[in-house]
């Protein structure tokens, strides 16, 4: 293991990738779920019985964080970052892992926030036309499509590197 990049080893970049996947996607979901939750509170103030349906809509922007977490976790398992596993990756592999983590991280960040906004707007549907709530869910799911695509590519890349 002689090849390094300004003294940083491949192992470090793999760690960085796993961290970024969880960090960025998690931030996106946290923001999204937060935005949706604020709107949900407004609905529940008027009608506490709508807690269940607002909760479902609030939950939708939460998947990005899970996707990011999954990618981060897979990288950890495959590259031996788990307790007891000795890790040493060459620079090329480390950088590839970092690149593989970017789609789910960056798309998770942006789509999580955007989906949170759509979910928040969907709370209006729950407030005024509760029977039409599922349409609000579909709108939010439209945004999630891109998070899923990002997750898919990250996943295929990670599997490609390690399997």
């Amino acid at each position: 293991m002689t090849d390094t990049f300004f003294g940083l080893s491949g192992t470090f970049f793999a760690y960085l990738g796993a961290a970024l996947a969880v960090l960025l996607a998690g931030t996106g979901s946290a923001r999204g779920v937060g935005i949706a939750g604020e709107a949900a509170t407004g609905v529940v103030v008027e009608d506490p019985d709508k807690f269940g349906s607002t909760l479902i809509l609030q939950l939708l922007p939460g998947t990005q964080g899970i996707y990011g977490f999954l990618i981060g976790f897979l990288v950890m398992v495959f590259s031996g970052m788990m307790p007891g596993g000795g890790i040493s990756l060459d620079l090329g592999t480390g950088l590839r892992v970092l690149a593989a983590c970017l789609p789910v991280g960056v798309v998770g960040l942006t789509s999580g926030i955007a989906q949170g906004r759509v979910s928040a707007a969907g709370m209006n549907i729950i407030a005024k036309r509760p029977d039409q709530m599922s349409k609000g869910m579909i709108y939010a799911a439209m945004v999630e499509t891109y998070a899923i695509l990002g997750f898919l590519i990250s996943l295929l890349m990670v599997l490609g590197i390690f399997m």
Partner: protein
């Protein structure tokens, strides 16, 4: 299937009007049209006498019940999300004894609520008085004191920022024999008492006024502030005790407020009947109405109208009319109507897609959730939920053991861990499927549609999970390795989505391709049915040729090479289709150059089809997500190692993880399967915008009104 609607016009004697409305409401067989839609409405209006029916009194009564119910809302035991609703036979809805009970309950609640609000008012007054007395608690002087014959005494409020030194200096000049003292102070005010000789009273007041003082008045109070505060406290305690007593009374009533709910719903039905009564045009002796009747209940309507000697006639819907939509499907397909309804009902002259939707929804949902363990949970959990809600009949309930046996068989197949095991698992899937089929076909079709969709999706999930070898992720290998000491446990998997992700993606997209082709086929069917066979060929047929040709070329290139027969056929199909498109897609333009231009540019639509197919890759992504989440929790659970303690930790982590996994991924699969139906599939052929059939019926909030014959 969209039920055929016929338009009815009926005429009858006014004396029968009420009975006819009652009977129609009972059978839920006709949707009344607004009288304005009658052909000769203007002439008829001349003859119409304003209906005498008055729903105002009923509405007042209902709002009293509503107020009593909302007053009770804090003191009623919540029924819970999963509880079933009581049901009452339509003919026995008017129950005088129950109504009397409700009246008594309502009066009692009203009296208690009124007393509580009065007591709360009194308490607030005392609280306010107490707060205003507290600053004076230290002066120990009676509140009614205004001085003696020679000395004047008064209490004042001074702003906190008043300059006390200046005040004191000026007081000394204006009232040398007087005194000003601070009793207490807070952030905003100083509470001040002042004495002086009667002759200096006005002068001192002038000084105080200049510093912003206001007189504090407590008219009517006797005794010191402290004594008054004590008596306030005593009164407040008494009021609190009484309120608690009354609240207990409400809680006692809240144990059974069925009569109130019943009365609310009964009044609602009476109001609906009254409104229907007003909506029908009436003369002094007769009434008439028009409406829509689905073909299935036509005979019910005829029976009722014949019984009361009404004159009526049925007509077909005119071309420009849009009759309301009522769907009728087999009991297995009916739950999937909820998926279509969520998008929009079909237009009357389109088609009911539910049969096709049910197949694809079932298939794709299972592949998206894709973990057999989660599938088992959905099947068992969904059944129990249906049971709890009271949506199942007795004979359906009896199928539960069969369902459990199927689940056990399916899971034991996974434990066997070989090709035989997979066959056993499939047998389990078949047993569950057959049991669930029986359950659903023996239950009322209109109840709990969404739960049924998810429960059936669970069977599909177990099927796909068996193929993907995912039972709560890698639960079985994990247990074998960590707790049973089998170091090399290799799970037998037909198609491992982690190892063969690309293959699963190709399967997903191929399914998507077929799904889209089916959608286009339905479009062609609609066009041909409406007498446009050429458009079906030009707009659908050529595209299908092109797309199938392209896919055949691609498949042949990967699998067989470009020399193969399939490739040649693919090229021919694609080229022929493309030529057809170029020649026909500009057919509504006059100019031949424009015709050609439009034809060529129409080929760009191929990108749309490409993105539609790619969209199905989400099946793989969501499928992997549920399997990998389960694996992650399995790994986390085993971090503590084997042994008893390790097993306990594993069980806790596994339980939490599975709850999270099943929640998130069921929601995701439900929503994204729906999306594939709406955007990729419906986009090809579906015409939305039907208005639902809203028959004259009893609409209630708390209790279900049923007909005797209904199973």
């Amino acid at each position: 299937m969209i039920l055929k609607m016929e338009k009815i016009s009926a005429f009858g004697l006014l004396s029968d009007k009420d009975a006819v409305i009652r009977a129609l409401m009972r059978e839920r067989c006709v949707q009344l049209s607004a009288p304005e839609t009658l052909e000769s409405y203007d002439e008829l209006k001349e003859l119409t006498e304003v209906p005498a029916g008055d729903v105002y009194a009923l509405e007042q009564r209902q709002s009293r019940y509503a107020a009593a119910l909302s007053g009770m809302s804090f003191y009623t035991q919540k029924a819970g999300m999963f509880a079933s609703r009581p049901s009452v036979d339509y003919d026995k809805l008017e129950d005088a004894a129950m109504l009397e009970k409700a009246e008594a309950q309502c009066a009692e609640v009203e009296a208690v609520v009124a007393e509580i609000s009065e007591l709360r008012g009194a308490k607030n007054k005392d609280l306010f008085l107490k707060a205003s007395l507290e600053p004076w608690a230290g002066d120990g002087l009676p509140m009614e004191l205004t001085g003696t014959r020679a000395v004047s005494f008064a209490r004042y409020l001074l702003p906190a920022k008043a300059d006390m030194q200046m005040l004191e200096a000026r007081r000394a000049k204006a009232a040398p024999a007087g005194a000003v003292g601070i009793v207490s102070e807070d952030k905003e005010q100083r509470y001040v008492i002042a004495f002086c000789h009667r002759s200096e009273e006005d002068a001192l007041w002038d000084v105080l006024k200049e510093h912003g003082a206001a007189r504090a008045s407590f008219s009517g109070l006797t005794g010191t502030a402290k004594e008054n505060i004590a008596s306030c406290d005593k009164r407040i305690a008494r009021v609190d005790a009484r309120i608690a007593e009354l609240e207990n009374k409400l809680r006692e009533i809240g144990k059974d407020i069925y009569p109130l709910k019943y009365a609310y719903d009964l009044t609602a039905v009476q109001i609906q009947r009254g409104k229907a009564n007003n909506d029908l045009l009436s003369t002094r002796e007769t009434f008439c109405f028009t409406g829509w009747v689905p073909e299935t209940t036509k005979s019910d309507v005829q029976d009722i109208l014949d019984e009361y000697g009404c004159h009526y006639r049925f007509e077909q819907a005119a071309d420009k009319e849009e009759p309301p939509i009522l769907l009728k499907n087999s009991k297995i397909v009916t739950p999937f109507e909820s998926v279509t309804e969520m998008y929009s009902l079909p237009a009357y002259r389109c088609m009911d897609p539910d049969g096709v939707v049910s197949f694809w929804y079932f298939l794709i949902f299972g592949m998206m959730l894709s973990d057999a363990g989660l599938g088992l949970l959905l099947v068992i959990g969904g059944f129990l939920l249906l049971q709890k809600k009271g949506y199942l009949t007795k004979s359906a309930n009896a199928m539960f053991p069969a369902l459990v046996i199927g689940a056990v068989v399916a899971f034991s197949g996974a434990v066997i861990n070989s090709i035989v095991g997979v066959c056993v698992s499939f047998a389990g899937v078949l047993i569950m499927g057959a049991a669930l089929y029986t359950v659903i076909s023996r239950s009322p079709s209109q109840k709990g549609k969404l739960i049924k969709v998810i429960t059936m999706g669970g069977v599909s999930t177990v099927f796909w999970g068996t193929i993907f070898g995912s039972w709560f992720g890698d639960l079985i290998p994990t247990i074998a390795k960590v707790f049973l000491g089998v170091p090399e446990y290799n799970a037998f998997i037909i198609l491992d989505p982690l190892q063969q992700a690309l293959n699963v993606m190709i399967i997903s997209m191929s399914m998507g391709f077929v799904h889209i082709m089916v959608g286009m086929g339905l479009k062609a069917y609609l066009l041909i049915k409406r007498g446009h066979p050429w458009e079906a060929l030009f707009d659908v047929g050529f595209w299908m040729m092109t797309l199938i040709g392209l896919v055949a070329m691609l498949a042949a290139m990967i699998l067989l090479g470009t020399e193969s027969m399939v490739f040649t056929v693919g090229v021919i199909l694609a080229v022929a289709g493309a030529i057809g498109l170029v020649l026909t897609q500009g057919r509504d333009k006059k100019n031949p150059i424009m015709k050609l231009m439009n034809g060529i540019t129409s080929l760009y639509d191929v990108t749309g089809y490409l993105s539609d197919v790619l969209s199905y890759s989400r099946i793989l992504a969501l499928g992997l997500a549920s399997g990998v989440i389960a694996q992650v929790f399995n790994i986390m659970g085993t971090l503590a190692g084997g042994g008893i303690l390790g097993a306990i930790i594993f069980i806790v982590v596994f339980a939490l993880g599975t709850v999270l996994n099943v929640g998130i991924n069921t929601l995701g699969s439900y929503v994204h399967t729906a999306r594939l139906q709406y955007v990729e599939f419906f986009g090809k052929f579906y015409e939305a915008g039907g208005k639902p059939f809203k028959p004259l019926m009893a609409q209630t909030k708390y209790i279900d009104v049923i007909n005797k014959e209904e199973i």
